[in-house]
Amino acid sequence: MKAVSLRENENVIGYVFTAPFILGFLIFTMFPIVSSLYYSFTEYNLLEAPRWVGLQNYENMFTNDDKLIKSLQVTMTYVFASVPLRLAFALAVAMMLNTVARGIGAYRSAYYLPSLIGGSVAVSIMWTQIFGDKGLFNSALGLIGIESNTSWIGSPDSALWTLIALSVWQFGSSMLIFLAGLKNIPASMYEAASVDGANAIHRFFKITLPLLSPIILFNLIMQTIAAFMTFTPAYIISRGEGGPLDNTLLYSLYLYRRAFQFFEMGYASAMAWVMLIIVGLITLLIFQTSKYWVHYEAKGDK
């Protein structure tokens, strides 16, 4: 009898402690997910009740909306350029900083600082200036003898790349994670490899990369999801419009415009579901391929 009442007790206590999450999950996650799915089959402008239209929103997205196709292209370019570049920089710098040298703490701070402030409106505003026609970038080009009056932000060819540059500039948090991973690799492994005659390139591909691969996987997934969600810089740099020629119309920004500027809540909900499916598929794909390149020591393979 005593054991049973104790266990019941544990159940009650467990739910008391986790109640904030469970309630929040039901109210702010589960209920919205279900509503969003329902809205995606309706026409809904907030003022009148949602009107059921079946699959029409989904159909319109892919047959009737050039902007949507464009924003998908823009987003894919953004994600597939910024995430790998960001991780590559993060790893390269982490390897450079994985040593004992004077001032290493200051360097670490300097590389991390952009990540810390990167999501802020202030930095997006600063970026519009740096890549404007009279901005820091052109001015710096002038110093090395290249005269340029291009507004990199304003030109359709380069606008997206300024956003990508902004994202790559913020490699600091991934770098810190890599750095922590690198410090966990025992120096003896490198020494043993050196004795066996492995050069720096060998050591990188045979020791560093495999041992870091679980961290790379984790970073890759979290950063990919985050990159799909990018909103603030695209909004600020294009003043909420996604220009020039829709070349910075990231998916989240287009969804925002459809929902909160044109009040097409049904259509925007359908967009959200397509996004969820795309992100889900890409995450799954990364997981599936990871068994070929992620090395888990627990498996015992050498």
Partner: protein, 288 residues
């Protein structure tokens, strides 16, 4: 790395190596923070000087008038109001997020209850769920509750725990030996007593880390204020900065730079004060 050919060559290479290291790593570090320094120095330049020799970091004269003109804000609402709004939102949402997450983390880390694994899977799922999926129904919900144009949609949801903080605090609780809980239980402490008297004092570092991250996220948050606040006197700093861009042609670059610089100041100060916690938080939990 390189095999020395003669001892003198080896010596000079040994001397050169740290020099080269600092040149490359230091140079790159400077390039990384140059834009930030440039923003700060531009805020002190007279308006006509900002775009002449834009690369320069040194203003010809230190001109604080940009700060005065930026601080005036828009239509009678000064940046004093915007900063106050930011602090109100940040402080209340951070208290809510950290306190509720600590409770939940303890529940998941130390108590065995029915369907625990299922609920924990929900924590992980929420952490990875794109915000875009929930934003519209949440907006509709808050609109129906009559919460638009108030701080409530920005503050209240934080009291229902944040998956990332649950995760971070759980990791920390796991490092506390369970024998400690047992000992307290022997002394007649209830689970609630154990949590408040034994666990909370021990997880202070994790609570500090969560507080800092919550501060950063709320301070920088742009989309939620953009959705829910429509009167400038309710704007936080992040949203107020946007107002500089809304004018047909921007004429107060200096004021905008000055306020942008000011808006970064709390973040940078917190970073330098709590550097240790921040770096540890990122390294162990893997998130910004």
């Amino acid at each position: 790395m390189a095999k020395p050919k003669s001892s003198s060559q080896a010596l000079s290479f040994k001397r050169l190596k740290p020099f080269l290291y600092h040149l490359i790593v230091g140079g790159l570090a400077l390039a990384m923070i140059y834009p930030i320094l440039w923003l700060a120095s531009s805020s002190l330049k007279p308006n006509d000087e900002i775009f002449a020799n834009a690369y320069s970091l040194i203003p010809s004269t230190l001109d604080f008038s940009n700060y005065a003109s930026g601080w005036k804000g828009f239509a009678g609402t000064t940046f004093g109001t915007f900063f106050k709004n930011s602090f109100i939102i940040v402080i209340f949402s951070t208290i809510g997020a950290v306190a509720s997450s600590a409770l939940v983390a303890y529940g998941f880390a130390r108590i065995n209850f029915k369907f625990k694994n299922f609920w924990f899977a929900c924590v992980m799922m929420t952490m990875m769920l794109p915000h875009d999926v929930t934003v519209i129904p949440q907006y509709v919900m808050f609109a129906k509750l009559g919460w638009l144009s108030s701080f409530k949609p920005l503050i209240v949801p934080n009291f229902f725990a944040t998956p990332f903080f649950i995760f971070l605090i759980m990791q920390f609780i796991r490092t506390i030996p369970p024998e400690l809980d047992e000992a307290a239980k022997m002394d007649g402490c209830s689970k609630y007593g154990i949590f408040f008297k034994v666990v909370v004092p021990l997880i202070v570092p994790a609570l500090v880390t969560s507080t800092i991250f919550s501060f950063y996220w709320r301070w920088d948050d742009f989309i939620n204020p953009l959705l829910y606040l429509n009167r400038p006197e309710l704007y936080p700093v992040s949203l107020a900065l946007k107002l500089f861009l809304d004018a047909e042609s921007i004429n107060n670059w200096g004021g905008m730079f000055a306020m942008a610089t000011l808006s970064l100041l709390p973040i940078v100060i917190v970073f330098f004060v709590f550097q240790k916690y921040i770096v540890e938080g990122i390294s162990t939990s893997g998130l910004k």
